[in-house]
């Protein structure tokens, strides 16, 4: 049994005292007792010395104590706000490189070649309907035209050097998927997903930049709602339809029929969102 010590209001049976502890035969055994002194420095006070259990002096001045209390109140908000900031940051262009033109050995303009000259995507990206990789054009493809046009242009010097040295041009990769992600261009394109769905309006880019984050949440958005992702068949590559910004799927009856047909050949959403679909 605990011997009564300390001031009168601390003794067993005193109603002014709040006690938290395990009730046992003969009274309360030790536990955390909330007293005026202890509340003042909750969490922050060192355990009282054995002989002076309840009457320890205040360690921190009220001013410091106030700082601690303020910090305790502010900390959860700081954690939440920090989390939100980190979340926003993970979508910003710094880690994702979205909307960030990168330096390239030759400032190739899709705006000029696709938008201006109307060259089809597949003229250079030849394997986009056939393999996982869309295919980067070799130097020979560039020189198909530039052996005759702009033959003296300084900006094309790396292309001519590449041809004469038989060393490929080292382009800077914009879309760098994590190695644990499997992605196949051909299946998407052949099913009717337009280039612009992932690459944006490339035909108006004077130098190429990444348009979407390619984060998992972004991929899943389409895999959960595949019907909204389709373009009609001729729009997959051909700029006039692909890049028609006011074109709407539901306004085009042919497109709607096409989507219905295509969806019949697309796996269920359950399969499309299976881990194995992209992580294999």
């Amino acid at each position: 049994m605990i011997q009564a010590r300390g001031p009168e209001w601390m003794r067993p049976g005193c109603r002014r005292r709040k006690r938290i502890g395990t009730r046992q035969k003969g009274g309360y055994r030790s536990g955390i007792r909330i007293s005026r002194e202890n509340i003042r420095g909750a969490f922050l006070v060192l355990p009282p010395a054995r002989g002076d259990r309840w009457n320890m002096p205040q360690i921190f001045s009220p001013r410091v104590s106030l700082w601690f209390k303020t910090a305790l109140i502010v900390a959860p908000f700081a954690v939440v706000l920090g989390g939100l900031a980190a979340y926003r940051f993970s979508y910003s262009s710094y880690p994702t490189q979205v909307n960030l033109p990168l330096d390239q050995p030759v400032p190739f303009s899709h705006q000029h070649h696709v938008g201006g000259l109307g060259i089809d995507c597949q003229y250079c990206h030849t394997t986009v309907t056939k393999t996982a990789d869309a295919g980067m054009p070799d130097t020979y493809t560039c020189m198909t035209c530039h052996s005759q046009i702009w033959t003296e242009a300084p900006v094309l010097q790396p292309v001519r050097d590449s041809l004469s040295s038989r060393m490929p041009i080292r382009w800077t990769r914009l879309h760098n998927l994590a190695d644990y992600v499997y992605f196949d261009h051909s299946i998407h394109v052949n099913k009717g997903i337009s280039c612009t769905k992932c690459h944006g309006d490339v035909e108006s880019m004077p130098i190429t930049w990444k348009k979407v984050t390619l984060q998992m949440g972004w991929c899943l958005e389409c895999h959960r709602h595949p019907a909204a992702a389709f373009s009609p068949p001729d729009a997959v590559f051909q700029p006039p339809q692909v890049f028609t910004l006011n074109w709407r799927l539901d306004a085009d009856p042919d497109a709607k029929r096409f989507v219905q047909k295509q969806l019949a050949g697309v796996p269920s959403v359950r399969e499309l969102t299976d881990c194995w679909t992209c992580h294999r």
């Binding site: 969490f43 922050l44 910090a71 900390a75 000259l117 109307g118 060259i119 089809d120 597949q122 003229y123 030849t126 990789d133 980067m136 070799d138 020979y140 493809t141 020189m143 198909t144 035209c145 052996s147 005759q148 046009i149 060393m167 490929p168 080292r170 382009w171 990769r173 760098n176 994590a178 190695d179 644990y180 590559f237």
Partner: protein, 195 residues
């Protein structure tokens, strides 16, 4: 006084998550540079004599457009509508930039200064054997580069079939169109004219 070590622990745990071993493992992506080979290219040229599975090039007609050194006439197999559609698609991608959508040699690249190719509708090319076109696509001709790496043999034949269709269309009369199709032609004439 316990808060800072706790926060520090959480922060350190968070940092542990910032490891990139799985994100960039040892496998190479297409076109990725590697110090392993002297020329730093991870994509390796095929060893001489490699035959892709299912593509043993035993059929001279189909794969070279020549038989015993003579350019072939005709097609390796009867031309189908599906093949013509494929040919149109491929022609518009690879050929129309110079040869023009209708094959008269007025493509956008020609308008920007590339030497104009001959029209497909001149008599010499109307009389040329199909093997000639196959040969030109495969090896190039004049200032035209080879398209062998961009257009597969089956696609070459599809394109040749479409060129023949373009040549036919140029001199076709309304009487050549089956009566049942004439109304359809008038209706879609403008829209599909160039295609």
């Amino acid at each position: 006084m316990k808060t800072p070590p706790l926060l520090l622990t959480i922060a350190v745990c968070g940092l542990v998550g910032c490891r990139y071993e799985m994100r960039t493992d040892s496998r190479l992506k297409p076109y990725q540079e590697t110090p392993f080979f002297a020329d730093r290219n991870s994509s390796r040229p095929l060893v001489d004599g490699v035959v892709p599975r299912g593509e043993a090039r035993t059929d001279d007609f189909f794969y070279t457009g020549e038989i015993n050194g003579h350019l072939v006439r005709g097609f390796p197999a009867p031309v189908t509508l599906e093949q013509l559609r494929k040919g149109r698609e491929r022609f518009n991608i690879y050929c129309s930039v110079c040869h023009g959508i209708t094959g008269v040699g007025d493509g956008t690249i020609v308008q920007r200064g590339f030497p104009a190719p001959p029209s497909f509708h001149e008599q010499r090319l109307r009389d040329a054997p199909e093997g000639h076109f196959f040969h030109v696509i495969t090896y190039g001709y004049g200032v035209m580069y080879s398209y062998a790496s961009r257009v597969e043999p089956a696609e070459r034949w599809a394109i040749i079939a479409y060129i023949r269709a373009l040549q036919l269309a140029r001199s076709a009369r309304i009487d050549d169109v089956p009566p049942g199709e004439r109304a359809h032609l008038a209706e879609n004439g403008g829209e599909n004219g160039g295609q």
